[in-house]
């Protein structure tokens, strides 16, 4: 069994990267490996938006990530600096910055970049999708 980590930097619906990452994730799990976590960075942070509302006949990427978390305990970390500057934040960050809305909620967690390096340290493979 190999332990994988993913770095996702492509935005949903404008880059094919999130779709590639999800297809690869299911193939990794089907071969009996483990995915420890996904780190969303750069435009990839938009994958976490709870306001994401694609047409009904398209895959909702946030829900697809959430399912991966719920069924396979894959940790979903979002870079806080990349998220805030792009208008994505959790309820507590919204309070801290005096904003009236928030769009990041569990199972996605806002964390620092250190988490990416930690993911790279504790996994056997770090695969980038961008």
């Amino acid at each position: 069994m190999i332990k994988y980590g993913f770095l996702v930097m492509g935005a949903p619906y404008s880059s094919p990267a999130p779709h590639s990452a999800l297809r690869f994730a299911h193939a990794v799990l089907a071969r009996g490996h483990q995915i420890a976590g996904v780190f969303f960075y750069h435009d990839g942070v938009h994958n976490a938006s709870s306001l994401m509302t694609p047409p009904q006949d398209e895959l909702n990427l946030r829900e697809a990530w959430t399912e991966l978390n719920q069924q396979h305990a894959v940790q979903l970390d979002v870079c806080i600096a990349a998220a805030l500057r792009r208008g994505l934040m959790s309820e507590s960050e919204a309070q801290r910055h005096g904003r009236q809305a928030f769009n990041i909620a569990l199972p996605f967690e806002l964390t620092g970049l250190g988490q990416l390096l930690e993911l790279q340290q504790r996994t056997d493979r770090l695969i980038t999708f961008a």
């Binding site: 750069h42 390096l117 790279q120 980038t128």
Partner: protein
Amino acid sequence: MATPDALLVILRHAPHSSNWLREGLDAALVAAAFGQPVHLLFMGQGIMALLKEQGSGALGQKATLPTIDMLEMYDIDKLWVAEGALQRMHLSTDSLVDGVSLIEDQEISGLLQQHAKILNF
């Protein structure tokens, strides 16, 4: 040439055209702050990050140069520049900040092999 546990951060995008360079440099700085040895490789348009006369952009876009100047404080002292890319962009080292190391195109693959961890921006 490199320590086996060092992280190689490859930077291929120019300042003021996307956020790839800034967020790539941020990753390098955080890794260094965590005590990891970090080396940088500038390829293609990424070389523009090293131009010593660059400034900040309009509407408060931050300049990259202060971050480049900060690298040494974080013990990031290996700044590899792809020599072929430099020539293709009609630039010489005179236009770049001090302290860069040139690497020939044929040596780039070897540099990647020597690093256990690589992040490509």
